[in-house]
Symmetry: C2
């Protein structure tokens, strides 16, 4: 008898018919001998409907009241799913975030979970109930309703799994797992049976929308095994674990990419201490998030400075940088918003040299010019012209053998 915490997102509970389907799915797990706690989101479209109501009242609704409003979305779903489970003959009970004491800080609309009192859920489980909990919501120390921000239901599920010491936290979504890369770009992309938390974090931050980054961080912190599965198809999905595989293998998990990048360069900046801060400070003050940062030594005691930002922030960042360039007496500001970032991700890189050079060679063989390079412990990212995105991803997918069946360790050698 193992305990599973399962999370079904807005699309999975998007209609009464789908709620019935989720109930059947949950019952199957229960019938296989598992205890099940289910976390659900608002029915798809519902949160937007509520936000529109709020906008009809005020252009700047208070965050506290917005949380009171939005939290009704999940409350509707827990009641309906519980009714559907009872309709199948299950014992089931629903709980709001407040009712199972999902204690958060008081940062309305983006609260963080501090604690969960699992006593009531455990008692229900021991009496044979399937417990259905509203995702995305909690209460602060004063009993005010809070929400965790969009996608927060993943975090609720992970936090509940941690509090209840669940065997696994299963995130049911509209994809059937984590892939070596986007199957729309590389049809040969393979579903990974396993991936580490660190790899998942790199993949998620690079644009794989499968899981909320916060939920993955949370799972890693509390060692909660996390599995991504499809709501609509059968399958084992992808298990995200905190265990690393054997060190004898150089392991690449996948290739992530991000189409929304733009790059900005300021050239001929006098090379003095504090110059990086004087360049990045005004950009940060304008709430523009900077991704990659590279500084090279230029000629004549000057330096060249390049960074990437989200494409939507390109014009804003360019204007700021031009002001900064004048102040600093820099030579020139240039930019390019037709670039993309492609990244190789894998914990195996830590102990294996040669991965970066294999990557660069594969790109060179296709005539793809690398515009920027940035590396971390488990990732190598390159910036290339937008037009090369698909070619680069496909070339790397082949170069690292990601389309081949994995070996016994569940991972591909290269």
């Amino acid at each position: 008898m193992t305990l599973l915490v399962q999370k079904y997102g807005g699309t999975s509970v998007g209609s009464l018919e789908r709620i019935h389907d989720v109930a059947s799915k949950v019952l199957n797990y229960k019938n296989k001998g598992h205890d099940v706690v289910v976390v659900v989101s608002a029915m798809s479209g519902e949160t937007n409907r509520l936000v529109e109501l709020a906008k009809g009242i005020s252009s700047d609704p208070s965050e506290r009241e917005l949380d009171v409003l939005l939290s009704t979305g999940e409350q509707v779903t827990i009641a309906l799913l519980t009714m559907a489970l009872q309709n199948l003959g299950c014992k089931s009970r629903s709980y709001t975030g407040a009712q199972v004491h999902i204690l958060t800080d008081d940062a309305h609309n983006k609260a963080r979970i501090l604690d969960i009192d699992g006593a009531r859920v455990k008692r229900d489980l021991s009496e044979g109930y399937i417990v259905v909990v509203a995702g995305f919501q909690g209460v602060d120390q004063q009993g005010n309703i809070t929400t965790l921000g969009r996608g927060g239901s993943d975090t609720t599920a992970v936090a509940l799994a941690a509090a209840l010491k669940a065997e696994e936290c299963q995130i049911f979504t509209d994809v059937d797992g984590v892939y070596t890369t986007d199957p729309r770009v590389v049809p040969e992309a393979r579903r990974l049976d396993r991936v580490t938390f660190e790899e998942m974090l790199e993949m998620a931050s690079l644009g794989s929308k499968v899981l909320q980054i916060r939920a993955v961080e949370f799972a890693g912190k509390y060692n909660v095994p996390l599995r991504v599965l499809s709501s609509f198809e059968e399958g084992e999905g992808t298990l995200i674990t905190y265990e690393e595989r054997g060190m004898e293998q150089a392991l690449i998990s996948g290739i992530a990419f991000n189409r929304d990048e733009a790059k900005l360069t300021i050239q001929g900046v006098p090379d003095q201490p504090g110059v990086a801060h004087r360049i990045l400070g005004p950009i940060g003050d304008a709430n523009v998030e900077v991704d990659m940062i590279i500084q090279n030594v230029g000629a004549d005691g000057t330096t060249d400075f390049t960074c990437t930002v989200h494409r939507n922030d390109y014009d804003k960042a360019l204007a700021i940088l031009q002001d900064t360039a004048k102040e600093l007496g820099a030579r020139e500001v240039s930019g390019d918003n037709k670039i993309v970032k492609v990244s190789l991700v894998g914990v195996g890189m830590r102990s294996h040299a040669g991965i970066a050079s294999t990557m660069f060679k594969a790109l060179a063989d296709e005539g793809i010019n690398i515009r920027m390079i940035s590396t971390s412990e488990i990732k190598v990212s390159v910036v290339v012209d937008e037009k090369y995105l698909e070619l680069a991803v496909r070339a790397l997918h082949v170069a690292f053998g990601l389309d081949e069946e994995p070996d016994n360790a569940g991972k591909t050698k290269y």
Copy 2:
């Protein structure tokens, strides 16, 4: 500085525009120097929408989960009204039933309020907040969400007024007060400035849909002055008080009527002890509510027995009574579902004779035959043929001078 608890029903908050109107209205009271606690219902149509969702899941949804579902309706309204108040520059906070500890028994869908902890509301009021509370809902001892049944928001408002020792509980609705009779029948009907709780109870149970009977009972029990006003027009409405007026006046408050009556008679029943129970028992067992009951001595040691039921229950009750008649050896069962009940209501009757005979004479003068008579301390009811309803109400309205301006005591002499 007085404290008002105001309740706005579903029609009053039925659209975003109306919610803005309610906010303005509430702010007016605040600006006049009152502390205000506002209780709101779900936006009109919302509760039905939620019930339909539940029916889409299960033909027999559990009462506990139905309460989880339905309580979201009021939660949406409190958030929106609070935003609207904040938009007008007010300090305002919303609370669900659970958040202000509206403790109820565990009778889901029809719970009764046991206790309210007003501490949090009082603290907010002392800090200048307008407090907005979800009507219709509470929590039981175990923290399960409960609802008070349809119209329960009136009860929430009264209970809060009692707990906070409010100066007045004001029920805003789509009529501007309690009338001497239905203005659709008697255009000269006058709005009453005051009416007693007992009179209001008789009026309400006789078909005036202005207030929930439970709310009136609750207000009477805790001596909460209750006022009915219009959400849409200015005016003083009708104050419902527990104070009786001077005993020197014979006071009639109004004329109530009920179109949904049907009458059943069983004749020639052997007059033995226990016969009333043998007749009414099977009817009660079939969940048919009996209103008036009359037993007359008949000829030959037999008795005649007549009762009235809701017109919808007529066929069912008739069939039951025919079975009973056979068992008891009664002579005949007859019935009539084209009858109505007209009632004169007023606390003054207690100390004044002659009211009933004035009533009977007024009806006789119009040639209206009285089929049944029933009296209570503050009411005289007659059953007449359906076709006479309007004529009877108008004749009585004139006979008791209800269309005349009240005297100084705020009531009409006759």
